[in-house]
């Protein structure tokens, strides 16, 4: 007589089921038909390596964050961006990613949208680690990437809101910022400087982003709130040509032309030029030929000085500028576009809507 304990009996059933499953899997791998009714019998496809369908496999660093691993992350994003220019299909292998931040997610989203618009195949795999995978899924990143829609909206609770558009829409910016402001201040408030800063960046995208492109320039916004630090971060991105590549097409009668020519002749780096522009030492600088243009970048610094935001960072071409920290660096890898990131907390200037 055999005495079988209850848990052990369940274990035998589980083992039998697992054996049947593994057998089916083995047969599927080697392409053997499974036992299905006559009408439904079909050959199960053998294992297919997804990498073979794509011209290029992009592998990010394990720490895929602009804030902590800036150079490698930008190098990775550039490697994908370069493939777009030569119409190569790309597989983004995120398996090994252990950390990813909101800024990198929105940049990946922007790149994928560009690929989709140009009908170049792009796909990817999820990170194996649960935290970055959850971040990717919860951001709604993969929900819709159809270029025929005028705007891309991914909403998930109060974590990340990402919008892509190609028109100037002040009202939409206010709508995006409103829940963030309520989270930070606990009530609806006017943050005029914050709003103006973002809309100024948006206007620059529409006016300057890519003078040679036939397509409208899309801008992207990602807004997130960190409960730990009680700080909100808004990242504005456009994948145009970047500030300095855009300025290279400046006309002789554009504002700031002679100043820029002198600086370039002296071998001044883009980082130093951006510092001078931010401090207002160059006067108005604009690619257009209209003398009253060229206030956008210095105005962003003014918003910082007035206390509407706590931190302002600008990444464009080979420049990484932490304007709030007075640091302007040259990066080893150039980024084809412009990122403006601001963060604010309830210590920043704002006004009651009831005033």
């Amino acid at each position: 007589m055999r005495f079988i304990l209850k848990p052990h009996r369940r274990s035998i059933r589980t083992k039998k089921r697992r054996k049947i499953y593994l057998n089916k899997k083995r047969k599927a791998k080697i392409g053997v038909a499974t036992k299905l009714p006559q009408g439904e019998r079909r050959r199960v496809k053998p294992y297919h390596n997804p990498y073979e369908d794509y011209d290029f496999v992009a592998k990010p660093p394990s720490d895929c964050r602009i804030t902590t691993n800036r150079d490698r992350t930008i190098e990775f994003l550039n490697s994908i961006e370069m493939r777009r220019n030569v119409n190569d299909s790309v597989f983004v292998e995120l398996n090994g990613v252990e950390y990813i931040d909101d800024e990198t997610l929105v940049m990946l989203l922007a790149i994928m949208a560009e690929f989709h618009f140009l009908k170049i195949p792009i796909n990817g795999s999820f990170p194996l680690r649960s935290a970055p995978k959850a971040k990717l899924v919860n951001s709604g990143f993969l929900k819709r990437l159809y270029p025929k829609f005028e705007r891309y909206t991914f909403d998930h609770g109060d974590q990340i809101k990402t919008h892509g558009q190609h028109v100037y829409d002040s009202q939409r910016i206010a709508t995006i910022l409103k829940p963030l402001i309520i989270q930070v201040y606990g009530e609806e408030r006017f943050c005029q400087g914050l709003h103006s800063l973002i809309t100024e960046a948006m206007k620059n995208t529409i006016t300057h982003a890519d003078p040679h492109s036939e397509r409208e320039s899309y801008w992207w916004i990602s807004a997130s709130y960190d409960r730990g630090t009680s700080k909100a971060t808004v990242t504005f991105l456009d994948y145009g040509v970047g500030i300095f590549e855009s300025l290279r097409t400046i006309f002789p009668d554009s504002p700031g032309y002679s100043v820029l020519q002198k600086l370039w002749e002296l071998g001044t780096s883009n980082a130093e030029i951006l510092e001078k522009i931010m401090l207002g030492k160059t006067g108005r600088v604009s690619r257009t030929r209209i003398q009253k243009h060229g206030r956008g970048l210095p105005y962003m610094k003014t918003c910082l000085e007035r206390g509407f935001v706590e931190s302002l960072k600008v990444i464009s071409n080979d420049v990484y500028a932490d304007v709030s920290g007075d640091s302007y660096e040259t990066m080893p890898h150039s980024f084809g576009g412009t990122i403006i990131q601001v963060s604010f907390s309830n210590n920043c200037l704002s006004h009651s809507v009831c005033l």
Binding site: V167, Y168, D169, F190, Q192, I206, R295, Y299
Partner: protein, 114 residues
Amino acid sequence: MEGIVISVAKDYSVYPGPRYRIQGKWSGEDFYHVMLRPKFLEALESKVNLIVKLDGVVGYGPSFLEESFGALAEEFGIASVMKTVKFESIMEPYLVEEINEYIKESSQRSTNEK
């Protein structure tokens, strides 16, 4: 203070937009032609002040302010504008100085071009 009063938020839009009409809604150019210029002319004719209340909007871009108030100075001259137009802002008092700067620059630019 007596005169003609316009509130940007209540009479025009809470969401001031870009510089030009072609760039989007509620632009400085549109505000100038639809509201600011007609009211300024009315104030000139009636010989009263034009009081512009700036509060209650989500935020002004420099482009909006320059294209609207700067255009006023370009067309009517700095003296006329500074005499007639008065600004009120409790939330953003620095805006008054900023707008005055745009008016002066626009007037100077207009003089240089002539």
